[in-house]
Structures are given as structure tokens and as C-alpha cells.
């Protein structure tokens, strides 16, 4: 078991390092391509160690570690710190970090579900359903998802339901957005539906849970989710033809920091929680600002030439490299 965990951790580190270098070197800007690479980094450490264990059991022998492998954790097992093998210490350290990162992202979800707040249905503008149907049609959705309008002063706009998606929008959000910006923001949510991002998001969460001990997976999963957001941005901007309106929608609905902006930190009790809450908000704000700037300054992204061949070759190269990491 320990060998499997260490190998999976190593595979994640190597795959993430190589893929990140390739993404930066090739300057890939299209989030569809970037997402594929991120998912590759998520899948390989999950699938490759057990599959290679079955198909190539000789990889587990010391002979392969000494003469065939590029890197063998077996060699590091000989080193000890305070009487404990280095690989076990690295595994414990990584697992602590991985669990911490997973809990950090899971806590807001659980807290949201347990908050007990039942949103009160509210009447939206008359043209809301029509707008959603029109954008859904532009995005190629055969059936427009349901729209639920809820009475809440805050800026709430999200998509829910992996199998029966529905767009939830608050009266506060509707009040803040003018029709063009509202249309762009709704298009972003519908783009998630069109690309089955909710299902994909749960699959990513499952991978995170299975590789709970792996901090690299936790970080890459966050990056994958960000690519999904960028992909939805692109799709929405194409469908509406108004990237600037979408950027304005992000500014209007995005997280706000500090009392001066009227922002609150739910559940921020005590200095540690306050620090964490601040960190979440800060991270979200920075990511959102980067997405806004991208829409305003670098949109549309140029697809890279030979994208499929590029990805296939990269996947093959990374898999081959990982074969020699035991």
C-alpha cells in the first residue's frame, strides 16, 4: 500500500511538473486544451500505478529500480531521519498537506449545505425565461434548464443539479445587472450546462477524494476547475458576442473583500477562521480578476496548431516517463 501511495504521489509530481512546463512553454491559451492537460495530470496518478502494477509487475523489483527506473523510491527508503524512512516521512507530510487542501475546499460546500437557509422563491423579470431559452438554443442545448429566482439581497448566480441542471439567480443579482450584463452572466452559467461541467466537477471532486493524500492532485484539481470557468467564459462570450459584458458581470457579482466593500465573511469566528476566510476571498478575487482581464485583453484565445496531436504526444510522453518512475 505504502509503495502504491508513494508511486502515485511521485507520478502526480512528475506529471504536473512536465505538463506545467509544456503549458507555459507552448503558451497554450485555449482553456479547452488546458483543461485536457489538467485532467491528464489528475487521471494518471490515479490509474497508472494499479494498471502498471498489473501489466508490468517487474517494475516493482529491485532489478528494475536499479537498472531500468529513472527514479526509484526504494533508494530513498534507505535514508532515515529521526529513525524514520524518508519516503514514509514525505508521505505523511504530503498527506497532511493534501488533506488540509481538500478540507479547505470541502468546508465551504458542507457549510453551504448545512446552513439550513431555504431560499424563498421570488418572481423574476418576465423576460428571464425567454432569455435563458434563447441563449440555451445558441449554445446547442436541446432543452433549456429551469430558472429558479430566489429572494436574496446578495449577488447569487449559479448552476445546480448534475443530472437536471437549473440556473439559480437571486433578486439581488438581478437588481445589480443591466440586461446585457445579465444576459452574459446567464450565458456563462448555461455554458457550464452545455459542457456538463457539473458532472465533470463531481468527477474531479471524486478524484480529489480518492487521492486525498496527494497535495499535487488537490492543487491541479483547483486549476482544472478554473479552466472549466474559463471555458465557460469563452463559450458565453462567443454565444453573446459580448466579452466585456461578461467581465462587467464578474465585477458586479464577484467576491468583495472588507467591510468597506460591504463584504462579509460567513463563519469567520476567531482569528484562524478569519485568516482562512480572508485567504479564500483573496484567492477567488485574484482568480476572478485574472479572468476579467483575460476577457478584456486577450480574448478570443488562439487555438494552438496541431492541438490533438500535441495532446496525444504529450500524454504518451508523460505516460512513458512515468513508467520509469517507481
Amino acid at each position: 500500500m505504502r509503495e502504491y501511495l508513494v508511486e502515485s504521489l511521485l507520478h502526480a509530481c512528475v506529471a504536473a511538473a512536465v505538463v506545467e512546463t509544456l503549458l507555459r512553454g507552448w503558451r497554450l491559451a485555449d482553456p479547452r486544451e488546458r483543461l485536457a492537460y489538467r485532467l491528464l495530470v489528475l487521471i494518471l496518478p490515479l490509474v497508472l500505478p494499479p494498471v502498471l502494477g498489473l501489466l508490468a509487475p517487474f517494475r516493482a523489483t529491485p532489478a528494475f529500480a536499479d537498472s531500468g527506473a529513472l527514479f526509484a523510491s526504494l533508494h530513498w527508503r534507505a535514508l532515515r531521519i529521526a529513525g524514520l524512512p524518508v519516503d514514509a516521512l514525505a508521505l505523511v507530510g504530503a498527506a497532511s498537506l493534501g488533506v488540509g487542501l481538500f478540507i479547505r475546499d470541502l468546508t465551504p460546500l458542507v457549510r453551504g449545505r448545512r446552513s439550513g437557509l431555504v431560499p424563498q422563491p421570488a418572481d423574476g423579470p418576465d423576460d428571464l425565461a425567454t432569455t435563458v431559452a434563447e441563449i440555451a438554443s445558441r449554445l446547442g442545448l436541446t432543452r433549456a434548464p429551469a430558472v429558479r429566482c430566489v429572494a436574496a439581497p446578495g449577488p447569487v448566480l449559479f448552476t445546480t443539479g448534475a443530472w437536471r441542471p437549473a440556473v439559480v439567480v437571486s433578486t439581488g443579482a438581478l437588481a445589480r445587472l443591466d440586461p446585457e450584463i445579465r444576459r452574459a452572466a446567464l450565458a456563462h452559467e448555461l455554458a457550464h450546462v452545455a459542457r456538463h461541467d457539473l458532472l465533470l466537477g463531481w468527477a474531479v471532486m471524486l478524484a480529489r477524494a480518492l487521492l486525498l493524500f496527494n497535495p499535487v492532485t488537490q492543487v491541479v484539481a483547483r486549476a482544472a476547475v478554473l479552466e472549466m470557468e474559463r471555458r465557460a467564459d469563452d463559450l458565453a462570450a462567443r454565444a453573446t458576442g459580448a466579452p466585456a459584458a461578461l467581465a462587467a458581470g464578474m465585477a458586479a457579482l464577484g467576491p468583495r473583500r472588507g467591510p468597506a466593500n460591504g463584504g462579509t465573511k460567513p463563519g469567520a469566528v476567531g482569528p484562524f477562521n478569519e485568516f482562512l476566510a480572508d485567504l479564500f476571498t483573496k484567492g477567488r478575487t485574484v482568480a476572478l480578476e485574472a479572468r476579467r482581464r483575460r476577457l478584456l485583453d486577450a480574448w478570443p484565445p488562439a487555438p494552438s496548431p496541431l492541438a490533438t496531436a500535441r495532446f496525444t504526444l504529450s500524454a504518451a510522453a508523460v505516460t512513458t516517463l512515468l513508467f520509469f518512475v517507481v
Partner: protein
């Protein structure tokens, strides 16, 4: 590796493959360098791995190890170090320290397989002073009085069994070494 949209598909493909090869080669080189760090830190030769337990050694070699039933009070249990050489020839070295702190007071080398020989990387060469044949329950054995490079005198007993070779190196009396060797039993599951 910056993309130039005006490049032809052929040049683009060459650039793509070239950059991929460079990145993978760099990653491979970095992994190789990291892999060599434990050998540099421990001073072990390439191919020699330290294993933490006798169970772990048996898993690595795929055979049950021989351990002495007669274990003098002058030796410390468990082994102070266990090293494995993946081979070929695959072999292991169990080193027992003396109770007085003497390192490597007894070393048991085992090489599984017919016509096996203990890897020289595990059993460094010594100068033989005297050699005699010894009666053993199975196979043939040679008892050697040896001189180590640091001038110390000890005894080696090399025992060729039908399917493995066992070698014992002892910093103590020859008769005690023979008794230890005759008491060697394969560990049971």
C-alpha cells in the same frame, strides 16, 4: 517554444516534437539526479539498497532468508543493517553489531539460486591467510582466515549449497563461526 501562427504545419510538428523531447529529457535527467542522491548520502554503491526489515528483504529477493539458531551473547539482535543487491547475482547482507559496539561483528551473505555467488558489492574482497575445508550437513564449505584492509583478522566461511550460496564473515573465533553456520535455518512463513 513560443508559437508562431505563420509557421507551416511541418515546422510546427518538428518544433512540437523537439520541445517535447527536450522537456521529457530534462525531466528524466532531473529524476536520475534525484535518484542518485541517496547513494551519494549513504556512500552505498549503485545497485545496493538498504532494507529496513528481514521481511522486506525476503519480499525483495523473493526467498526466505537463513538465520542462525545459535546466536552468541556477544552479538546484538536485530541486524544493524540489511543491504540487498538486486543483481545479477541477487544477494543480501545482514550485518550484526557486537554488544560491545563493534560494527559488523557478524555478517551473513546469502545469494539465492543454483550456482549463485555473493555480489562483490556486498562482500568486499579481503586477503586470505589460510583456507581449510569444513564438514557441513549439505553441500561443501570452506573456512578462511582473512585479513581486512584495515589490518584486523577475522574468519570467513563460504558454504555452497545446492540452490544457494551462504557466506559468513565473523570477527571472532573460527569454531564459533562454524557453530553459527551449522545452526543456520531458513525462516518459516
Amino acid at each position: 517554444m513560443a508559437e508562431d501562427p505563420r509557421r507551416s504545419p511541418g515546422r510546427e510538428a518538428v518544433s512540437l516534437i523537439g520541445s517535447l523531447v527536450v522537456v521529457v529529457a530534462l525531466a528524466g535527467g532531473a529524476l536520475r539526479a534525484l535518484d542518485a542522491v541517496p547513494h551519494l548520502l549513504t556512500g552505498e554503491r549503485k545497485g545496493v539498497t538498504r532494507v529496513q526489515s528481514i521481511d522486506g528483504t525476503e519480499r525483495v529477493l523473493g526467498v526466505r532468508l537463513f538465520l542462525p539458531a545459535f546466536f552468541p551473547d556477544t552479538l546484538q539482535w536485530p541486524p544493524a543493517s540489511i543491504r540487498v543487491y538486486a543483481g545479477p547475482p541477487a544477494s543480501s547482507a545482514l550485518a550484526f553489531a557486537g554488544r560491545d559496539g563493534t560494527p559488523d561483528r557478524l555478517m551473513i551473505f546469502q545469494a539465492p539460486g543454483p550456482l549463485a555467488s555473493v555480489a562483490m558489492t556486498l562482500m568486499p574482497a579481503v586477503h586470505t591467510l589460510h583456507q581449510t575445508d569444513v564438514e557441513m550437513p549439505e553441500g561443501s564449505a570452506v573456512l578462511l582466515r582473512v585479513e581486512f584492509p584495515d589490518g584486523r583478522i577475522g574468519n570467513d566461511l563460504v558454504w555452497y549449497r545446492p540452490n544457494e550460496t551462504l557466506a559468513l564473515r565473523y570477527m571472532g573465533r573460527a569454531d564459533e563461526l562454524v557453530t553459527i553456520a551449522r545452526s543456520l535455518r531458513r525462516r518459516r512463513p
